[in-house]
């Protein structure tokens, strides 16, 4: 059996009276594409934030690569290999597409504390960034400011940023949200390509895409994992159908 890359044990998070996560247990195997689905407000984004470290859990522990990361800061988790693409795209709008990716490459190469080398003329940085520009299909838009991109292009760049940090695990928070059928298809192909190369935790509303892409699916209802199984078995699971798929 393949080894576990990310494990959460009994994660709990409460916002005031609202219990968003209760005893969240997730086991993500190295190399798989694991999808997290659930109705609105089930706590999917909160789970992502807990894993990235943007939120601290009230209780519970997180292991990444066998290491306890519960109390490790956001940037250190990123350096350990956890990358995140956001649901609401958060790019640097005053930076061009290439500059956005160059910053991500810089994070990976750990060259942030160079005070004199001009970053925009750094050949090495530029070549590495251009790899991702090309891969994300943004070659013709490389010098355009991120703020001027279309929604679909922004999603592609967001993915590229996460990839450019050469992560061991990629957290994708609703990458298809707001995309037209063409954009969804393009992104699906991209994710399909990444499968195997990097472990992916995917949160997505588009169930068709999820069932097509995922190796395993966990269903989250009211902050709790009610089932984890292969797509076929999840489809047949009565508990899931009742809670999420509406019994259809």
């Amino acid at each position: 059996m393949a080894e576990t890359l990310l494990q959460t044990k009994g994660l709990c998070k409460r916002f005031g009276a609202l219990q968003v996560c209760r005893n969240l247990d997730l086991n993500i195997t190295s190399g798989e594409l694991h999808a997290l689905i659930g109705p609105n407000g089930a706590g999917k984004t909160t789970a992502m934030n807990l894993i990235t470290g943007l939120l601290t859990p009230d209780s519970g522990v997180l292991f990444f690569n066998g290491r306890d990361i519960t109390n490790i800061s956001v940037h250190k988790r990123a350096l350990l290999g956890l990358a995140r693409a956001f649901q609401v795209t958060s790019l640097f709008n005053d930076f061009s597409v290439r500059e956005n990716l160059m910053l991500a490459v810089q994070a990976q190469q750990r060259t942030g504390f160079r005070f004199w080398t001009n970053a925009t003329r750094d050949r090495k940085l530029m070549t590495s960034a251009d790899e991702y520009v090309e891969r994300m299909g943004l070659t013709e838009r490389a010098t355009v400011l991120a703020g001027a991109l279309s929604h679909g292009e922004r999603r592609q760049l967001e993915m590229g940023m996460a990839l450019a940090t050469k992560p061991a695990m990629l957290l994708l928070d609703e990458p298809m949200a707001g995309l037209g059928p063409g954009g969804t298809l393009k992104l699906c192909e991209l994710i399909e390509e990444l499968k195997g190369e990097v472990t992916i935790l995917l949160v997505e509303h588009d169930t068709q895409a999820v069932f097509a892409l995922a190796d395993r699916i966990s269903v989250l209802v009211q902050g709790e994992v009610v089932a984890t199984d292969s797509p076929q078995l999840i489809k047949q699971n009565s508990l899931v159908q009742e809670a999420y798929l509406g019994g259809s």
Binding site: A78, S90, G112, L145
Partner: protein
Amino acid sequence: MPNRKTILNGIGLLFFLLLPPVTQIFGQEYLLSLFSRILIYGLAAASLDLILGYGGMVSLGHAVFMGVGGYSVGILAFHSYESSPILSWPFVLAGTENALLAWPFAVLVAGIFGLITGAICLRTKGMHFIMITLAFAQMAYYFFVSLTKFGGSDGLSLYNRNTLPGIDLGSDVLFYYLCLAVLVIFLIVAHRLAGSHFGRVVSACRENEQRVQVLGFASYRYKLACYTFSAAAAGLAGALLVNQSEFISPGIMHWTKSGELMVMVLLGGMGTLVGPVLGAATLLLMEDILAMYTEHWMIILGPFLIIVVLFAKRGLYGLLTETGGNNG
């Protein structure tokens, strides 16, 4: 091919270089003192631009670093006149009038003060950051007001400027050129810094700090390093200012002075480094000229400032350098 920025910067440099002989020809030497102050405030404003324009850290306490640098020089000189040590324990720190010792000391003290206050201030964001920098500024202000040994609120006078081997700082022309050289060197260093790997991370923090962290940068350290460097540069401006006016009082670090520095940055153009120098020149010259006609010169300056900030995104420098096709 040189672009508009290079041309404009060249014209500006030429203007400042040629100013002393021209004022001598026309017998208007008093202008030199005004323009020395413009250069010094330009340095302070450009250093504020590093944290305000690039780092997005809105500080209302930047003048304090000028004050700390200025007082470092002033107190060293004061003890030199009295030939008494500043500290006799745990080590002996004697007073000095030597610029080669006093100025680096001022930079160091201001930098350390920036590092300590920055380490606390940068734990907050937005409005809280503005308020906490203001709080530190007021604390420092009242601290120096209470130092009666060094003149309290009346301030401290120097008998003469610091000494520098080979250069007579007492000469207004030489002092002016020294200020110009310091400013130009600072602008070059700051420009390199802003474009460096480090500078890109700081700029990214301005836009979306959380995202910077998720990429794997310890954003706090980057911002603190930038804040400290900026404070040290403002300390140098303070050291120069004390020498220029041969006087320092706590008034230099009042929060309204920090506000003036911010106005210079906004007026000249945030995130342009050269812009704030232009802003300093505009503000100080308008103040000087308008004050000749009316004591209510702020009534004219205020609306002018509002118009510039409303209609010129990158301030006066932006207006001059950006062509019609402005794409941000």
